[in-house]
Symmetry: C2
Subunit: 280 residues, 2 copies
């Protein structure tokens, strides 16, 4: 397994691989790898000749008051996990190389970036689409893999790739959950043991919504009310948003449709902000 | 010479050419081709195995009150000129294919897009950087050629390519002028015969500035004053801006530096807005 830090070298190596006819599967990450990331690597390993994983905690997707500094970083453990998954290359660039002094260029997907998480994390998705564009230009993958846990991110990246005609196929893989239902996330590390137990409330609220829909409830307002009610019973939880939207354009639904309904929520458990979602 | 309208086909053909080891030189244009464009094609022809010219009047770089509708279009003549220059492929996409309904993604270079022409043409450079990103993803060139006549555009595209790590080399070629000094431009067609004669005033003002600098004048304000004075004497002319800036960051200079000084101006001749520049 090769570890590449230089942007120029990454571009050169990718170019050589593509010229030799190898297909490249790419998993962009911010490190602090968990089973969710590993499931993407395994899929990439199945479907491509070469697998490249990037590890880069991207400053432009964090707000000034967010957790950029304390975001978990453990390159040694991450590298060991990548090796185990038979990753060919870890791309591990520095912030200075990715955003040199005087950096000025941003990619933005309008509308989709301003709702759900984007409403509370201004500029977050602009940072995501910008870094993903850069990584695609550096890694030149055939297929890139993202997790359904970040549902809005996946929708936005697909839209960006379509709009800008980027020659990369985007695959979105299912959310991986702990046994008790909590969606895997690098930020779960922030939870203390009490919070960790209570964090299952997000998935419970989503299951409640799913059951209501299965029972024939088609009014999103009523579903959201019942989800709020459930979440209110947990004192450690503070809801940021619950939304029921069309997965295609992220617009709120006035009535449940049977296909492509995204139920998404963001909830603080103590000081830790967690997100989760289900697609019906 | 092949004419390709489909985006998918363009991407496929480019991919095939690159896989065969051919280098691709690319000249993006809005058609209404003149000697300036042809000089770029000749350079591309010299330096690459394959030459691709795009012809696309890009709606996102025109303001609502600008000349998108009346912008000169003559595909037949353009195609004849391309054939003469031994162009391999004309890429001639439709607006609907480039910007389908629900299009949402834009690329923006901050700061550089808000000065000079950008101050008066809000959103113009965002349209340029967006379409150039799309065209690069469709044509996959090794080298792309732009004219120095659009100096700010060239600076912004170079910055975008650098920032987003786009694997394309940008070459900026000298402005081509009529015998009397007028910079070649598709918009010169808007001028009536009287206006056409008077339009040389832009280049005269630039020459004046150059002479002043050569004589040792190092105060940009004084140089601009003398340029304004000259331009005021022409009744058909109305100055939009005269700026003397650092070519690297487009910031106004307080004192003339010997290298990379960009003198740029935009002047209405009658109702036609013309731009020109010199780099000292």
């Amino acid at each position: 397994m090769q570890i590449i830090k230089s942007l120029r070298k990454m571009q050169l190596v990718s170019n050589q691989l593509r010229n030799k006819g190898y297909s490249i599967g790419f998993v962009p990450t911010m490190g602090a790898l968990h089973e969710g990331h590993l499931s993407l690597m395994r899929k990439a390993r199945q479907e491509n000749d070469k697998v490249i994983v990037s590890i880069f905690v991207n400053p432009t997707q964090f707000g000034p008051k967010e957790d950029f500094k304390k975001y978990p970083r453990d390159f040694k453990t991450d590298a060991r996990l990548c090796l185990k998954e038979k990753v060919d290359i870890i791309f591990y660039p520095s912030i200075k190389a990715m955003y040199p002094e005087g950096y000025k260029t941003y990619v933005e997907v309008e509308d989709l970036s301003d709702v759900l998480c984007g409403k509370f994390r201004r500029g977050h998705f602009r940072g995501v689409t910008t870094v993903v564009t850069k990584l695609f230009n550096l890694v030149w993958p055939n297929i890139a893999y993202f997790g359904q846990k970040d549902a809005q991110q996946a929708v936005i990246i697909k839209k960006m790739v379509e709009d800008l005609n980027i020659p990369v196929k985007i695959k979105v893989m299912p959310t991986i959950r702990e046994k008790d239902g909590l969606a895997m996330s690098s930020r779960n590390k922030y939870l203390n043991s009490q919070e960790r137990k209570k964090a299952t409330i997000l998935y419970k609220a989503l299951r409640l919504a799913k059951n209501l829909i299965n029972q024939g409830e088609d009014n999103p307002l009523k579903i959201k009310q019942k989800m709020y009610h459930l979440l209110k019973q947990e004192k450690l939880a503070r809801v940021q948003y619950i939304e029921i939207v069309d997965l295609k354009d992220l617009r709120p639904l006035k009535k449940i449709i049977k296909k492509n309904t995204l139920i998404a929520l963001a909830v603080f458990i103590g000081k830790t902000r967690l997100i989760d979602n289900l697609v019906i």
